[in-house]
């Protein structure tokens, strides 16, 4: 049982798992791309719906977590070994392991000479009862640690996002509750929209809401997205919510409707069909003569065209509260308000994915710094019970380190020969 566990652990913490799984997904993508143009979307759907593929994707964060544990353990183990603790030398801890020839155990004078040489080459040394350790440079392990945490966050985030993301599209209208809110909850008091001089964003959109009961006020901007009841508020498009009443000679009872129209920016048209009549109302937003943005100022003047089939029956312009009447046709614009078409997204994967980016950046900065300033090089010569073993590893500048390692071994061999 233990053997099985050890094997399983070795498999799951292998560095090969992540590239192998990514390769499988790439091959899957290539295969899907043979059949459809929407390969990425189809692959995402497949992963979402197929438990085997979901499990395969889950292997990625699992593997990075296991690697994190295994490599951290190995790192601490090596540190303790170099600090002189009596521990077995596990395979794979060092790049090179050379048993010293029988009778070639270094004398104190040899150790002093080797130590002197290494110190003159910039190494720090420690001579203990069981061995001599020398090291130089900064450990690259923190970069690896950060990288693995990044991988864990990235694939964990993707997995969570793919499998649990819930999205609700709704319209945010001034004076009404936010989509998905309970009665009297999260009432939008104001939508403000203005130019902004940010590095990335050119516009500033703020949705202000208040809770009449508790009096609590909240603001939802563009980025970073704020949350409402645990869901990210993700503004997508701007529009105008209109409430109108229409009547025609053959429709004396009239027809009344409220509709969010995607007619921003000015010039963009949207149509509303009057059911069972053949009439269509085509709306657009009038561009103010002074060049101002009607959405920013809130002065929403609506152009309309009344169509029956392909023929245009009437056309005009209306402000909120205005009414048009001609030839038996009447159109009253009861209200016009700013609307934001918004997605409310519950996705616990977003934050980890962004965090992953931060971890990768940190890992890169640390790794570059270490490589430039001085990568870690370690050398350990240990003797226990008459048997000697020389161990060496280098994270960079390996050639020079090996020269010193070989020289130390040569000196030990020379001294013991004489």
């Amino acid at each position: 049982m233990r053997k099985l566990f050890v094997r399983l652990w070795r498999l799951i913490s292998s560095r090969a798992v992540t590239p192998a799984v990514i390769a499988i997904f790439l091959v899957l993508y290539a295969l899907v791309a043979f059949w459809t143009d929407e390969a990425l979307v189809v692959l995402m759907q497949l992963v979402r719906s197929n438990p085997v593929l979901t499990a395969l994707l889950a292997l990625l964060p699992l593997n990075s977590a296991c690697c994190l544990i295994a490599e951290t353990r190995a790192f601490w183990f090596r540190r303790r070994l170099l600090a002189g603790q009596e521990l077995p030398v596990l395979p794979g801890l060092f790049d090179e392991e050379v048993p010293l020839a029988l009778g070639a155990l270094p004398s104190p004078a040899t150790v002093t000479r080797v130590k002197g040489n290494l110190e003159s080459a910039g190494y720090r040394t420690r001579v203990g009862e069981r061995g001599t350790a020398a090291w130089r440079g900064l450990n690259g392990f923190p970069a690896r640690f950060l990288y693995l945490v990044g991988v864990l966050c990235l694939f964990g985030g993707i997995l969570v996002s793919l499998t649990t993301r819930v999205s609700l599209r709704g319209t945010v209208v001034e004076g009404e509750s936010l989509p998905g809110a309970g009665p009297g909850e999260g009432v939008v008091s104001r939508i403000s929209y203005a130019k902004a001089d940010g590095l990335v964003l050119s516009k500033r959109l703020v949705i202000e809401s208040s809770d009449p009961g508790s009096g609590r006020r909240e603001e939802y901007g563009i980025y970073p997205p704020a949350r409402f009841k645990g869901a990210f508020v993700y503004p997508r498009y701007l529009g105008v919510g209109v409430a109108f009443r229409f009547s025609a000679p053959e429709l004396p009872a009239g027809y009344q409707q409220q509709a969010p129209l995607s007619i921003y920016p000015p010039g963009k048209e949207a149509e509303v069909a009057v059911p069972d009549t053949g009439y269509r109302l085509r709306f657009s937003l009038q561009a103010p003569a002074d060049g101002s943005d009607p959405y920013s100022t809130g002065k929403l003047v609506i152009n309309f065209k009344l169509l029956k089939g392909a023929a245009e029956v009437a056309a005009g312009t209306l402000a909120s509260g205005g009414e048009f009447a001609r030839d038996g046709y009447r159109l009253a614009l009861l209200d016009a308000r700013r609307v934001v078409v918004t997605d409310l997204i519950k996705d616990r994967g977003v934050v980890p994915i962004w965090l992953a980016g931060a971890f990768f950046l940190l890992a890169l900065c640390y790794w570059v710094t270490v490589r430039l300033l001085g990568p870690r090089r370690e050398l350990y010569i240990t003797w226990r019970g008459g048997a000697g073993l020389a161990l060496s590893r280098a994270e960079g500048r390996r050639r020079r380190h090996n020269e010193l390692f070989h020289e130390a071994l040569d000196r030990i061999a020379d001294d013991s020969a004489h």
């Binding site: 080459a121 020079r400 020269e403 010193l404 070989h406 020289e407 040569d410």
Partner: protein
Amino acid sequence: MAVATIETSGLTRSYGEICALKPIDLSVPEGEWLSVMGHSGSGKSTLMNLVGGLDRPTAGALVVGGQDLSTLTEDGLARFRREYVGIIFQQHHLVPYLSALENVMLSQYFHSVPDEAEARHALERVGLGHRLKNRPGELSGGEQQRVCIARAIINSPKLLLGDEPTGNLDHKSTLMVMELLKELRAEERFTVVMVTHNEEVAAWGDRTIYLTDGVLVREERTRS
């Protein structure tokens, strides 16, 4: 009986009409120190060049370290020189723009790959551990010759050739160099062939041969 490092039979070298080395039969056992004496133009350097693979014989057999040099291609000869022979010249031939350490590393480079720690160790062995960064112009004649020795032995040659290595040195430096060579030979067990005018230098060898006009005229064993 020791295996012969150098074995020649009817070894001849002519330059057109001039015969620089007349047929010579010579055997140098492994680990021997052979001194070669003679006047200018007697064929000493010709013999050394042939033995070191720097030149090809006109006739005769020449086997060094078990390899018949007359049958080797140019690449094979270069490989032989690189891996088998170390040479010390009278004129040093050190690169003036490189430090003592770099001069030794240059020899490593042509042999295989440089190894700074090993080059430093070789210079320490010839007593120049404190002069690693000095260029040849900043070293005395004796010190330069010691750099040459470090350079010659760095690739662990089986055969060390010396062409008047002490010709430019004063008596004290000569003694120091010869003492060093003796010590190194004891440690590394290489064979030495040393061309010299100097009877005193020749006397450091195990055996001395005398050449006159390209002919081996005499040989005598040195009293130990």
